[in-house]
């Protein structure tokens, strides 16, 4: 089976610092893949390397067998790689509808002239987008905030907006950077449900970074553990849970919950 997203021998240097070393990844369609590791291990760097924020110093990245290394972030995103951010990256002067609307950018082709003169193609496509927006808002249960500025929303809802926005780009792989950061246990349970739902409804593969063991163990089918830019263990949750190196490097003497 051809993997949906594969990374081979990716290495990246920030100046003299080797942030990521010989990183390999292979995500199959519809897989939920987890990446764990202590703070500063390079997890977010890996996200940024794959999504094109940085270009890796060495290695190869293939999305559906097409090389995406060196492309611009927006091109990679348009090819089917959606993401959320660790510290919510919402547009603070825009409302919820506009957030989800904007993520349809690459799916439009009416052009600038169409936008200037409000051409028929423009109106049709914008209407199509609005329909989509309403579906997504319903799915993520944020339609009651439709016209509100995102900054006025509760934290959990902001997370959902971010996720709805990422889904609007029609990703094949969804990158979630600590989707439960700063959430209460209540919201956490709801987040698990949402992620499962997204996984079911959109048939996407999910690649997530997480700190909460409960969350990762419950959701992921396959887990990688990263320490100082190197993968020290890889496998299904049970294996990772019992791997002594992982416990030593990352979990320490903490109890598993």
């Amino acid at each position: 089976m051809i993997p949906l997203l594969s990374v081979t021998d990716m290495t990246h240097y920030f100046g003299g610092l080797r942030a990521v070393h010989d990183y390999n990844l292979s995500i199959e369609p519809r897989q939920i893949f987890g990446l764990i590791g202590p703070n500063g291990a390079g997890k977010t760097t890996i996200f940024n390397l794959i999504t094109g924020v940085y270009t890796p110093s060495e290695g190869e990245i293939l999305l559906e067998n097409k090389n995406i290394k060196g492309l611009e972030t927006n091109e990679i995103a348009a090819m089917g790689l959606g993401r959320t951010f660790q510290n919510l990256a919402l547009w603070r002067h825009m409302n919820v509808v506009d957030h989800i609307r904007m993520a349809h950018y690459s799916q439009l082709d009416y052009g600038l002239l169409g936008a200037f003169f409000n051409s028929r193609a423009c109106r049709e496509q914008e209407n199509q987008v609005m329909e989509n927006v309403h579906q997504l808002m319903e799915l993520f249960n944020i339609e009651k905030y439709a016209g509100d500025l995102v900054t006025s929303l509760p934290y959990g809802a902001q997370r959902r907006v971010e996720m709805a926005r990422a889904m609007a780009t029609r990703p094949k792989v969804l990158f979630l950077d600590e989707p439960t950061a700063g959430m209460t246990p209540d919201e956490l349970v709801r987040m698990i449900r949402i992620i499962r739902k997204v996984h079911e409804d959109f048939k996407v593969a999910i690649f997530l970074i997480e700190h909460r063991m409960k969350f990762v163990m419950e959701l992921c089918e396959h887990i990688q553990t990263l320490v100082f830019g190197e993968v020290i263990a890889e496998g299904p949750p049970e294996e990772i849970q019992n791997n002594p190196r992982v416990i030593e490097a990352y979990l320490g003497k903490e109890d598993m919950t």
Binding site: N74, M102, L112, A115, F117
Partner: protein, 426 residues
């Protein structure tokens, strides 16, 4: 507060059409009786051009007369007609609602134009104020695209304006007039009004191409670079024109045919507002806001940020060029000094006073700063104390300007306003 609320409630049933009718009555009263009767009996030397502001500041003794004039000619007729005709105008507005929105909007604009035309028809001074205000609207709205919607700080608008003004002036001088520099007219002057739009567009395109000189180096990074580079660009354009003796150098360039009467400028202004409104409400235009608020997130959401920034900047410059072309043909004389730091201050004041990220705000800002500037003219130096003071207060109490982050909702603006029946609504 109570009075304001009551007042609002009383006039909440008046549709836009009613207000237009009220103002039309007022300006017609002024047109027919303003000089012969009203101002004569009130002891005013002539019709007060700007609602009596100039007379009041020059001769305080005339204040009661001028105020009475305003009351008789403007306030009472406008309010009375608007209120009394509201049943009729509401029906009219309801009829117009059945038409396509664009047709209804055009009809409303014709009404607006009629009001402006009659009001300005009293004397040439008013015509000039209206023309310059309309040109300022184009400038302000186009600056708002860059400084408001895109959230950068660009200072090069006078430069773009100069490019548009000079290019279009050279074209009209070369093609339609017998000029000392460019020789005899290449085309019959009768064609001039028909070719004028094309000339303006070429001027705008020149400004857009010129803007690349700012955009290419400064959009590689974020931050204050754009402000510095664009400021430099403005001075480069000014110095270049000053040293080009072919086009008049520092002495300027005159003799442009008067191709910009009020209707032409009005149409261009409305066209500008319409196109920019379409742009900023479309996804391609809203992309500017995403770039402003979080560029990394915008990239991840498939938005081509670099392209967005470049096109918006060129777009803004294009309209500045159009405004410059109109400006040159209103004054029929331009010199490089007109497109310098003073103009920049004026434009930025209009944008930040009116409100960022809002076309309506830009219109309000452009008109109010323009009219205020004219009305306070008798104060001479003090004008430059009062206007900045007002700006400071606006910045303190409304940091984003008077009307910020609001879009024009044409449909809502023009709809019929029926009385809300009490007890019926839940």
């Amino acid at each position: 507060m109570g009075i304001v609320k009551k007042f609002r409630q009383m006039f909440s049933t008046v549709p836009m059409l009613g207000w237009f009718l009220g103002f039309l009555t007022a300006v017609l009263i002024e047109y027919f009786w303003g000089y012969d009767y009203i101002s004569y009996y009130l002891g005013l030397p002539k019709i007060p051009v700007l609602f009596g502001a100039l007379i009041m500041l020059k001769e305080p003794l005339m204040i009661p007369g001028a105020l009475a004039y305003d009351l008789i000619v403007y306030v009472i007729p406008v309010l009375a007609v608007a209120k009394l005709t509201s049943p009729v105008t509401n029906q009219g507005a309801a009829l117009l609602e059945k038409l396509p929105l664009w047709l209804s909007a055009v009809l409303h604009l014709i009404c607006l134009y009629a009001v402006l035309h009659v009001w300005a028809g009293i004397n040439d001074y008013r015509v000039l104020i209206v023309k310059l205000s309309l040109i300022s609207i184009i400038l302000t709205v186009s600056v708002n695209v860059i400084n408001g919607y895109q959230g950068e700080f660009s200072c090069s608008h006078p430069g773009f304006m100069a490019l548009g003004a000079y290019v279009s002036s050279i074209l009209t001088l070369m093609l339609f007039t017998n000029d000392k520099i460019f020789g005899t007219a290449l085309l019959p002057p009768a064609l001039a009004p028909y070719c004028f739009p094309l000339v303006l567009v070429i001027g705008g395109a020149a400004a857009a191409i010129g803007s690349l000189a700012v955009a290419i180096p400064s959009f590689r990074t974020r931050g204050d670079y754009l402000a510095i580079i664009s400021l430099a660009f403005m001075f480069i354009v000014k110095s270049a024109v000053e040293n080009l003796h072919v086009i008049g150098g520092a002495r300027g360039m005159g003799g442009q045919p008067d191709l910009a009467p009020l209707p032409v400028i009005f149409i261009w202004t409305m066209l500008c507002i319409w196109i920019i409104h379409n742009f900023v409400t479309s996804i391609f235009g809203k992309a500017l806001n995403t770039v402003r608020d979080d560029e990394a997130a915008a990239e991840s959401m498939t938005i081509k940020t670099r392209k967005t920034k470049m096109t918006a900047f060129m777009f803004g410059a294009f309209w500045a060029g159009i405004a410059g072309g109109l400006f040159a043909h209103v004054l029929t004389y331009i010199n490089p000094g007109m497109f310098s730091i003073n103009r920049l201050a004026e434009i930025l004041a209009m944008v930040y006073f009116g409100g960022l990220n809002s076309i309506l705000g830009s219109i309000v800002g452009a008109v109010s700063i323009n009219v205020l500037g004219e009305a306070l003219r008798p104060l001479e130096l003090f004008k430059w104390i009062i206007i900045p003071l007002i700006l400071i207060f606006v910045m303190i109490f409304r940091p984003y300007g008077l009307i910020s982050f609001t879009e024009i909702n044409t449909k809502k603006l023009l709809e019929a306003k029926h009385k809300t029946k009490q007890g019926v609504s839940p």
